[in-house]
């Protein structure tokens, strides 16, 4: 165990080609580390390395500086601080929203949602969790708490929505492009498997399957039932590495 011999291809895929070169791709945490200072350094701990091979950093697509105007229960408005925000307002509107107030965990704590430009897809059995980027100092300065979630990635290559529960009314949120917004944590069906990141093509089969996932919450809230159904209707192959699609 833990010889980490088997690598499972996990694809990241940009949902739209438009401006995709502006975004940094996701990366595995262990790849961003500094050289160890000595044989007993933290980087040489097998337990540390084992975890850092499973965690994928989700880089922020944009530079962003925000405040929150909370006017009362269920009433809030995003305030964009121009200095520190580069992205054009029209673009920002498409990726940044407030969740409807009934979804807020508390009437005075709005849920801010940032849609990430990429999603993940794999043909291996895998569960995914999205967790706060707990190794970074930036997350300790956020005005609230990132909402974690867990889902069956193999059958559910969903859009990633980074969600922050805004807890400090006077706080400010600063995101820097490329800095981790969160970690994607993967569980495979054997502990010695680890992810191998590749860029995935948005093939017609993948696009059709994702269209089948789109807006299901407008039809029913029985998501687990839908996951069961999805498992029986999933094409055998959803992940096609981009470099295998030269002629496609």
């Amino acid at each position: 165990m833990y010889s980490s011999t088997e690598r499972c291809p996990v694809g990241y895929c940009f949902a739209e080609d438009e401006s995709a070169f502006a975004y940094q791709p996701p990366r595995i945490v262990i790849e961003g580390r500094q050289r160890p200072a000595g044989a007993r350094a933290i980087q040489n701990c097998p337990a540390v390395n084992s975890l850092e091979r499973q965690l994928i950093e989700l880089p922020s697509p944009v530079n962003l500086r925000l405040r929150m105007k909370i006017a009362g229960p269920g009433k809030a408005e995003i305030g964009v601080v121009q200095k520190g925000t580069f992205v054009e307002p029209a673009r920002l509107q498409k990726m940044l929203t407030l969740a409807p107030p009934p979804a807020w965990p508390h009437p005075q704590r709005p849920l801010l949602q940032l849609r990430l430009p990429y999603f993940f897809v794999t043909d291996d059995a895998a569960m995914a969790s999205m967790l706060p980027p707990f190794f970074t100092s930036a997350m300790r300065r956020w005005p609230g708490l990132m909402q974690p979630e867990r889902w069956p990635l193999s059958i559910w290559p969903q859009d990633l929505i980074w969600t922050l529960e805004w807890q400090d009314p006077d706080g400010e949120l600063q995101l820097k492009q490329g800095e981790p917004l969160g970690y994607l944590h993967l569980e495979f069906n054997r502990p010695d498997k680890r992810p191998d990141l590749v860029e995935a093509a948005l093939t017609p089969a993948l696009a059709e399957y994702r269209a089948g996932m789109d807006q299901v919450e407008a039809i029913t809230d029985q998501i687990e039932e839908i996951w069961d159904t999805a498992g029986t209707r999933r094409p055998a192959r959803l992940l096609t590495p981009l470099d295998e699609t030269a002629d496609a």
Partner: protein, 244 residues
């Protein structure tokens, strides 16, 4: 394919016993039993998979400013319920050559806790990233993943002091770390129980403890531990207080 049925449905998920024990019996009753963030009625899938380890004491811990040689740390007595003696028993510095980065000091706090299970299980230790208090910490804890079934090692929170101007301020009951258990079935949830002391467990634990002070490559040791592990390490402690 993962069996999606049951995922997200904590009430019907299979339960796998995971035992805990304090590393030292002394003052063990002052330590708080680990528990999931959400109980079965709580619903949320991920929260019932994260198990919190809580601080049994109040502590304010301060490190020396950057550039100060030798680097050191101290407990601020006025805001610490833990005695200097107990503090010295639990808190040790990480040597500079063992730090991740030369400018990020690290201090180890023993959690006085370990987990034990007989089911195939991988365990992860992480910072308490959903706890409001964690955002006031000076840095994260060193996080890791290891084969729990064969290797029920004692747990430590090694704080990496990224913000040197911040103290670590802990109040009794605060989350110190989260652990997560991964079983063969992705829907399975841990059933946390206190483990009884047995001769087989004591022998196995003694063989694990402090191996890293002997050899650096623990991977062959994992295999050795697996080959020589007793079939049963976890015996739940029988609990009963007389009723009035």
């Amino acid at each position: 394919m993962p069996d999606a049925a049951g995922n997200g449905c904590a009430a019907t998920a299979p339960r796998i016993p995971v035992g805990w024990r304090t590393s030292s019996p002394q003052a063990a009753l002052a330590f708080i039993p680990p528990e999931p963030l959400a109980t079965e009625s709580g619903g949320d899938d991920l929260l019932s998979r994260l198990v919190r380890i809580r601080a049994p004491y109040d502590l304010r811990l301060r490190v020396s400013p950057p550039g100060h040689k030798p680097q050191g740390f101290a407990r601020i007595g006025k805001e610490s319920s833990i005695s200097e003696g107990a503090f010295r028993g639990l808190v040790t510095p990480i040597a500079p050559h063992a730090q991740r980065r030369p400018d990020v000091m690290a201090v180890q706090i023993a959690l006085n806790l370990r987990f034990i299970t007989d089911a195939p299980c991988t365990m992860e230790l992480m910072p308490p990233f959903l706890s409001a208090n964690f955002r006031r910490w000076p840095g994260p804890i060193v996080s890791g993943r290891f084969p729990l079934t064969d290797w029920p090692r004692p747990l430590n929170a090694v704080i990496e002091w990224q913000d040197r101007d911040r103290d670590l301020v802990i109040k009794r009951g605060d989350d110190m770390a989260y652990v997560r258990f991964h079983f063969e079935d992705p829907a399975a949830l841990p059933e946390i129980v206190e483990a009884a002391d047995t001769p087989a467990l004591r022998r196995h634990l003694a063989r694990i403890d402090d191996v890293s002070s002997v050899g650096r490559n623990v991977r062959p040791m994992f295999a050795e531990a697996a080959a020589r592990r007793p079939a049963r390490l976890l015996v739940p402690k029988e609990i009963s207080a007389p009723a009035w």
